[in-house]
């Protein structure tokens, strides 16, 4: 039951054991990209010692949470103050639950002080259809009423199905639907890196058009 999103773990495991495809970001690139997004957040939200209690980073499990924690650490490095960080699992709000076996739930952890009247930045690793983001927004609504909500993603691979746009993008990657984005993070996968690969063993009618990968891209159906 360790699998968080459809096809996620399987794709990643096979990706690492075999040739993972073309490298998009090296480990160093991942670190640099996260640092850059951290700077953008600081700039755009005017975050600093004065406003430290107004910013909340909420990662979308699994890898969005790791990215959120890294962003928090980076922001703390640059400003000397750490914003609040937590996680919001959107599984119970997804619109595609009936399309597969029951998914394991991931952790939802609201930071102390909640999200009411806060500036919330949702953090995910990959943005594709936008459906995971929408589910996370729905989940967030039941948690409280933020002042505003922004979105940060490591990779935006296109193929949006909803009117959702990221405020902070690590890298825009044009993809075809038959490709998948493989995100590795040291916390869960041993090392950092992002690859692009052709979907393995596409089954006519059975495979997800968005490819099995991480983040938002599994929800293209």
């Amino acid at each position: 039951m360790a699998q968080n999103r459809r096809g996620d773990v399987g794709a990643r495991d096979s990706g690492r054991e075999q040739q993972p495809g073309r490298e998009l970001l090296s480990a160093a690139d991942v670190t640099r990209t996260i640092a850059r997004i951290a700077h953008q957040i600081i700039e755009k939200t005017a975050f600093g010692p004065d406003g430290s209690d107004n910013l909340v980073l909420l990662g979308i499990p699994t890898r969005g949470v790791h990215v959120a924690h890294r962003l928090t650490a980076a922001i703390a490095d640059f400003t000397g103050v750490a914003p609040a960080v937590g996680s919001v699992d959107a599984t119970l709000y997804r619109d595609d639950l009936r399309r597969g076996p029951a998914r394991a739930l991931e952790s939802t952890a609201m930071p102390e002080g909640g999200v009411d009247d806060k500036l919330v930045v949702l953090v995910d690793d990959v943005l594709m259809s936008g459906r995971t983001t929408r589910a996370a927004l729905d989940a967030l609504r039941d948690e409280g009423r933020p002042r505003s909500v922004q979105l940060a993603v490591l990779i935006d691979r296109g193929h949006r199905e909803l009117p959702i746009r990221a405020d902070y993008v690590g890298k825009n990657v044009p993809t075809s639907r038959s490709e998948q984005i493989l995100v590795s993070l040291a916390e869960t996968d041993g090392s950092d890196g992002v690859w692009i690969a052709q979907e393995e063993d596409p089954e006519p009618g059975g495979a997800q058009p968005g490819g099995s990968g991480s983040g938002d891209q599994g929800d293209g159906a």
């Binding site: 119970l92 639950l97 399309r99 029951a102 739930l105 609201m110 729905d138």
Partner: protein, 325 residues
């Protein structure tokens, strides 16, 4: 998972997944103003109780409502059940109306199995089978056993396991005593199976008259001496002794039972630090358990009730949220 009929239906992985989901749901709802998840919107859960049990029925009802399912209660009195309609016809009727899940409490052992059988396809050896094939959903109705006779009560075992996991940090390797009327207890049967599956060491403590012939084939140990067991257990679960048993000749008197098998204050003092006291309720204070013991900090009685809702949400989630198997 298509139905939840017996704790034996769950292997360690499935049981752990259910407990994990229960924990996540509790976490997701913690401190919220809006205790409502949209997950089971448009799904219909019918609770069909042929025996009164406010505790269990309400727990399932809340679980369904918090997940946005439409929950409908059918009780035996005041329905066609009291007009002599057979369990089979009632089940087929509800299924045809589009119930996605029927939660059943029934005095007959195996009633939930029979419902699952009737709701499925294929002819029964005993008579013509009817393909109910979910008139509105195209899927068979999921059956949850909420207690069938003296057979099983799997969601009670799950909530007990959730409570023990919270309090003890785990179940594998823990020693748990189940005390009292094992013979007539569906709670005991489900708990023995589930706790053994999860790696606990279970010991049943009861007079021989309240242990079933054949208990030696269960994955547990049997003891007649409560005092000898208490110092070594991580948790003790006291079973309810129903009033009618007291006059059934199973033991000489309520007083003697209380003396030999009740969890008195003196006896509770034999428990080691941190050992947990459980009771599925409703409690007969004084006989099975001393009031001070039931209300002591190591008593998890209320935590059991709380966990009941989350565990039942988890069961409904695993049965109804995903694609039909």
């Amino acid at each position: 998972m298509r139905h939840l009929l017996s704790a034996a239906d769950l292997d360690a992985g499935e049981a752990t997944a259910l407990l994990d989901t229960s924990d996540r749901l509790r976490e997701a709802l913690l401190g919220r103003e809006v205790r409502k998840l949209p997950t089971l919107r448009g799904r219909t859960v019918v609770t069909m109780f042929y025996e009164n049990s406010t505790r269990t029925r309400v727990s399932f009802e809340i679980a369904g409502k918090w997940m946005s399912a439409d929950t409908i209660n059918v009780s035996a009195s005041g329905s066609s059940v009291s007009k002599g309609e057979s369990l089979r016809d009632t089940a087929l009727t509800l299924s045809s109306m589009g119930a996605d899940c029927v939660v059943v409490r029934h005095p007959a052992s195996g009633a939930a199995h029979r419902l699952a059988h009737w709701g499925g396809t294929g002819p029964s050896a005993g008579g013509a089978g009817i393909d109910t094939g979910g008139a509105t959903t195209g899927t068979p109705t999921a059956i949850v056993n909420a207690g069938d006779g003296t057979h099983e009560h799997p969601t009670q075992a799950l909530l007990d396991a959730a409570t023990l996991r919270d309090r003890l940090g785990g179940i594998a390797g823990r020693r748990i005593a189940i005390v009292g009327d094992v013979l007539h207890s569906r709670v005991a049967r489900s708990n023995v199976l589930l706790l053994a599956t999860l790696g606990a060491e279970v010991v049943l403590v009861a007079p021989p008259t309240l242990l079933p012939t054949g208990v030696d084939t269960w994955p547990c140990r049997v003891s007649y001496e409560l005092d000898a067991e208490l110092p070594a257990v991580d948790a003790v679960m006291m079973l309810r002794v129903q009033a009618e048993r007291m006059h059934g000749g199973f033991f000489p008197s309520a007083r003697e039972y209380a003396v030999r098998f009740g969890l008195s204050e003196d006896r509770a003092a034999l428990l080691r630090e941190g050992a947990v006291v459980l009771h599925p309720g409703p409690m007969v204070r004084g006989m099975e358990i001393a009031p001070a013991v039931a209300d002591a900090p190591n008593s998890a009685v209320l935590a059991q009730v709380r966990n009941g809702v989350h565990v039942r949400m988890a069961v409904l989630y695993h049965l109804l949220a995903g694609a039909p198997e």
